[in-house]
């Protein structure tokens, strides 16, 4: 059975996890000053924002506020886009790719703003085709997450280490969560919906565990 309270709680917990992760994800950018690592905190920041909006949009009823639902849908998609471009540009450190990264980031921000504005300013579009938009957007999200999973798996295979397998596993869980939501969007299977929420929480918990292991655990170890 669909329970809006459980969904709201899961959205709030996911948002909290994302904002904690943001603290860790910004460190590579702060240390290196490289713009191409900015996509990591932006991605997790947007994911957190999308969960906050989701919590508000889906708090009351099964039929959420459509404009808010659109905003959370788009912000989540752009979160995955930010992550994809970060992984794509992380292999290309040349001066030329820095310009390409700046252009890509600007284009993503313009596209995000434009899509949210269109969804709000043209409410007919938002109300009539939300269900269809949800399906297309989730397919796009799955493609993004497959790319990131393959990228992180390749890095792991190059230099196998038991600690580097967790992140691709986390992204695979996020992708499976999107796939479950796609099934839910098509045939309203409540099992798929609940499974998606559990998989998402598991993925975020893995990211948090890896971050904690790297920064806090090694800090305790070095102080001993």
């Amino acid at each position: 059975m669909y329970d809006p309270t459980i969904r709201t709680v899961v959205e709030v917990v996911s948002a909290i996890l994302c904002f904690i992760l943001l603290r860790f994800m910004i460190k590579p950018y702060k240390l290196t000053g490289e713009g191409r690592y900015l996509g990591l905190p932006l991605g997790f920041g947007f994911l957190g924002v999308s969960y906050v909006i989701g919590a508000i949009a889906f708090a009351q009823t099964f039929l959420p506020n459509r404009e808010l639902a659109y905003i959370q849908l788009f912000s989540r998609t752009f979160a995955y886009c930010f992550l994809v471009v970060t992984y794509y540009f992380s292999k290309k450190p040349s001066e030329n790719s820095r310009i390409k990264w700046d252009i890509t980031l600007s284009l993503l921000i313009v596209a995000l703003t434009a899509s949210i504005v269109v969804a709000i300013i043209i409410p007919q579009f938002a109300v009539d085709s939300y269900q269809a938009a949800q399906v297309y957007v989730r397919i796009f999200n799955i493609i993004c997450l497959i790319y990131i999973s393959i990228h992180t798996l390749r890095s792991h295979i190059k230099k196998p280490d038991q600690t580097t397998i967790l992140i691709p596993f986390g992204f695979i869980l996020l992708g499976t969560s999107q796939y479950s939501l796609l099934i839910w969007a098509i045939d309203e299977s409540i099992f798929a919906f609940n499974g998606a929420l559990v998989l998402r929480l598991a993925a975020l918990a893995i990211f948090l565990f890896v971050s904690y292991l790297t920064f806090n655990y090694s800090k305790q170890r070095s102080s001993k």
Partner: protein, 92 residues
Amino acid sequence: MKKISRRDKLKIYGDLLMILNDQSKTEKIILTQVQVRMGVPFDRLKNYILELAELGMIEEETSLKLTEKGKQYLSEYAKVLDFMKRMGLAYQ
């Protein structure tokens, strides 16, 4: 001459501190060995060492050694590199 940007220097400082720290554990630091591991011309290496000393990250007593500030920077640098490796991100 190509100007070295801030981000490149951060990596150079991190790598240099890592090498200096490695060498100080086993033997007296020999700059020519550091130069070989860093892969930079000797005069540039001397400049980096001077800059690190000005920043208070290394000091010279009988031999070069990392200060507390240098050790802290190196520890944070190593953690972030480790995190990036775990996240599947390359830092070249």
